[in-house]
Amino acid sequence: MAELRIADVHKAYGRVRALSGVHLTVRSGALVAVLGPSGSGKTTLLRCIAGFEPPDVGEIRLEGRRIAAPGASVPPERRRIAVVPQEGALFPHLSVLDNIAYGLDRAARRAGRATAVLELVGLAGLQDRMPHHLSGGQQQRVAVARALAPRPPVVLLDEPFNALDAALRAELRRDVWQALRADGATAVLVTHDQAEALSMAEEVAVMRDGRIVQSGPPELLYGSPADPWVAGFVGEAVWLPAVLDRDRADTPLGTIRLTALEGSAPTGTVRVLLRPEQITLVPPGAPNAVAATVVRRDFYGHDAMLALRLDDGTRVAARIFDPASAPPAVGDEVCLHVRGTARAFPPGERASGRRPRGRRPSGPA
């Protein structure tokens, strides 16, 4: 258990600025996800925390003790911060058990810590295998076990589920989460997968261009993103032009209440953010319903996404649940109704940074 405090960390490789002023505090025992697109500097941040790279400016403290500052870095082996790298990076010349026991002292080895952790990650019985005889998911489990074995106060995970297929990924996420909880370790998970970040972490820090643009609980991030870019990166966004009237906005989808905000809210002509699941289909003739035409339908099984065009030409998207019961087809006329509140943004900013659909290759971020 340890609190990790990162203050104003800068790091440049030659002319490329990987980190430009990162502030982040990870509460003791929390699991924080650092979410960002490739090239946003998240892996560099992780390498600075682990001690593989010294920061150019700024400092990192672990439980109040300064572990990294320019010219005064604690070497990685004395930080007690374990790392689960992207591809596992198991020692190819050591068996599963020897891999896990690598960071253990003699007493812990004798006490059977390695087998206990092996069980924790669900690989009991595989201790004598060599790494190249394991599947990708198993290798990743061993890598997690190896990191957890010495009971490090902090565990860093660098896109650990990247190379796995979706079903395996969900299962491994759950198991890793449980293993981390069982040990009470503080964990930092670096990922470009917003679903992974939102589902696993207690707090998500969104990174862009070497800075953390917003951090907070997943619900806050999704519901109240700090800017349009974050809004688009953490989920599907529906943007509507709107005219403000105190705490309400007039939009092509009718009048919508605004999310209560501290500080100054924009006034006049704005854009408002809705999430597709806030737009529901209602029977024709319902009060406040707006007519729209179905342009496209993406079926996902548990839900479906409808791309719709309003009569005035505005394009919106709606997520419909239980899509198998009464599926509207392309070209159908439907009626829409908005639930919940909307978040208003000034009109100028462009909503770039669409959420990646599915997996995409990630270089060193």
Binding site: P76, E77, P85, A89, L90, Y102, L134, P152, L156
Partner: protein, 503 residues
């Protein structure tokens, strides 16, 4: 730094002597038609042999590791064995075999030397390339195949490019070796730099002449190194991408070419191994039947082993830090260290020997006339071999693994011992075996620096051949080849030709 110090002793000697001689004397010696001729002939020989060795070494390595060549395990190991045959033994074997049929002197000159040098030095290319081929990532080849390239085009366009660093390193060694070889060129009477330097010293006691020629030779070597550096800059440092779990690479089907390929490989091996073997066997019977020869032989063998082991130990100790540095921190310093070590390699053993005599008398007198000075000479001579092996081996151990190990609370030294070295061990071991072999075979420096009265197999052989006692020389040669064959066999097996390509 110590390692570089050792490598620099000979260069320092050269510089000191050149300073004493003065520029005018140097210029007189330098700008002559003979020097020009020597440059042309040395460069031509080095070029021809390097090209031939590259072609032969890469082809053999590919056939053995990546094709369905019948008997490839055995052939693969045998193909490395010419490394155990010293160039002077091979030259002597060819001369003595062919003389019987066609009269004295028919087998000599440029092309004879090129043939013999190619046959003894192609393993410098073959071994690293075979190791790299076995260790390379099959995924890239699979991608090439999936993009519509046939197996042969994939082999040329992807596989061989992947192993380019290994090819370049091997070719560099061959080029340097040819420039500094002394035994074969003097037996086959090709006037190149080394032979001219030796003649200048041993016949004319012309130190300045020898010095000037050595300086030009060093300059040539520097040019070779520079050229290699440029080619290396364009080639990426290579390592398997992704996880540590390796899949064995696929094989190319030779089809109708199978048996011609076997015949070709067997032909090369016959020329490289068969000729020396037959010739040595012929003389061997006569040699061992002489009274008292067995005791001398045993002494010489023990001396050879002892000195070679000492030299190998010292060389590897010095090479490990340099190799690690050049693989892990490819900065200017590491590159300079690396290149300097190579530069001293091209100095003929003779010059190294002389410079260390000078060093022993003037600087480190307690070492003079001891095996330690000889070991130092070996270290100065063979450091590049060891450095190349160590840095290639360490480059195969991904730095990510070291980082993980350190994050698990292990100190640098512990990580080096438990992760880097075990992963690099096959490569480092191969380097050590190579150094050991070369120490066993080394002749001129051993002649100059051995303690008085001590005979090794190489010097025993030399003493007897120089008085034309071929029968007496043969047992030394045979034993030398046999002892050298042991590490060579192991070396060849460790590249994975034996263990990992079965099936």
């Amino acid at each position: 730094m110590l390692a570089v110090g050792v490598a620099l002793i000979p260069l320092a000697y050269l510089a000191t002597r050149a300073g004493e001689a003065g520029w005018d004397r140097m210029a007189d010696e330098l700008f002559t038609a003979r020097t020009g001729e020597l440059v042309v002939r040395s460069v031509a020989l080095a070029t021809v042999v390097t090209a031939a060795c590259t072609a032969l070494g890469v082809t053999l390595a590919f056939l053995v590791t990546r094709s369905d060549l019948p008997g490839r395990r055995l052939l693969g190991v045998l193909a490395a064995l010419p490394l155990a045959v010293p160039s002077y033994v091979a030259a002597f074997a060819w001369v003595s075999t062919l003389q019987g049929d066609a009269g004295v002197g028919s087998f000599a000159g440029f092309w004879a030397a090129a043939l013999v040098l190619t046959l003894v030095s192609y393993p410098y290319v073959y071994l690293p390339v075979a190791a790299a081929l076995v260790g390379s990532d099959p995924a890239q080849e699979e991608v090439a195949r999936s993009l519509g390239r046939g197996p042969w085009r994939t082999a040329v366009g992807v596989t061989l490019r992947q192993v380019r660093p290994a090819v370049a390193a091997g070719a560099l060694l061959v080029a340097l070796y040819v420039l500094s070889d002394f035994g074969a060129v003097s037996i086959l009477r090709v006037d190149v730099f080394t032979r001219a330097i030796f003649t200048a010293i041993s016949l004319g006691f012309d130190r300045t002449g020898a010095l000037v020629l050595s300086t030009v030779l060093v300059a040539l070597t520097a040019l070779v190194l520079l050229a290699e550096q440029f080619s290396r800059r364009r080639a990426a440092r290579y390592a398997r991408l992704g996880g540590g779990a390796a899949r064995p690479p696929g094989r190319v089907r030779l089809g109708r070419l199978r048996w011609p390929a076997v015949l070709g490989v067997a032909g090369v091996l016959g020329a490289a191994l068969g000729v020396p073997a037959v010739s040595l066997l012929r003389w061997f019977g006569e040699g061992v039947s002489r009274p008292g020869s067995l005791g001398e032989l045993a002494d010489a063998a023990a001396n050879s082993l002892g000195v070679a082991l000492l030299g190998t130990g010292l060389t590897m100790m010095l090479a490990l830090p340099v190799g690690l540095l050049s693989a892990r921190a490819p900065g200017l310093l590491a590159m300079a260290l690396d290149r300097l070590a190579y530069l001293s390699h091209a100095l003929p053993g003779l010059v190294i020997g002389l410079s260390l005599v000078f060093f022993g008398i003037n600087v480190a007198y307690p070492l003079y006339q001891s095996v330690w000075l000889l070991a130092l000479a070996y270290a100065a001579l063979f450091l590049p071999l060891a450095v190349a092996a160590v840095s290639a081996a360490v480059a195969q151990a991904p730095p990510g693994l070291e980082e993980v190990a350190r994050s698990l609370g292990r100190r640098r030294a512990h990580v080096l011992r438990t992760v880097t070295v075990p992963l690099a061990a096959p490569g480092i071991g191969a380097g050590a075996a190579l150094v050991f072999l070369t120490c066993m075979k080394e002749l001129p420096a051993t002649l100059l620096l051995r303690p008085t009265g001590m005979d090794t197999l190489a010097t025993g052989l030399w003493t007897r051949t120089s008085v034309a006692a071929y029968a007496a020389a043969a047992p030394y040669a045979a034993l030398l080849v046999l002892i050298a064959a042991v590490p060579t066999w192991w070396l060849s097996a460790r590249t994975g030709v034996l263990t990992r390509t079965g099936g």
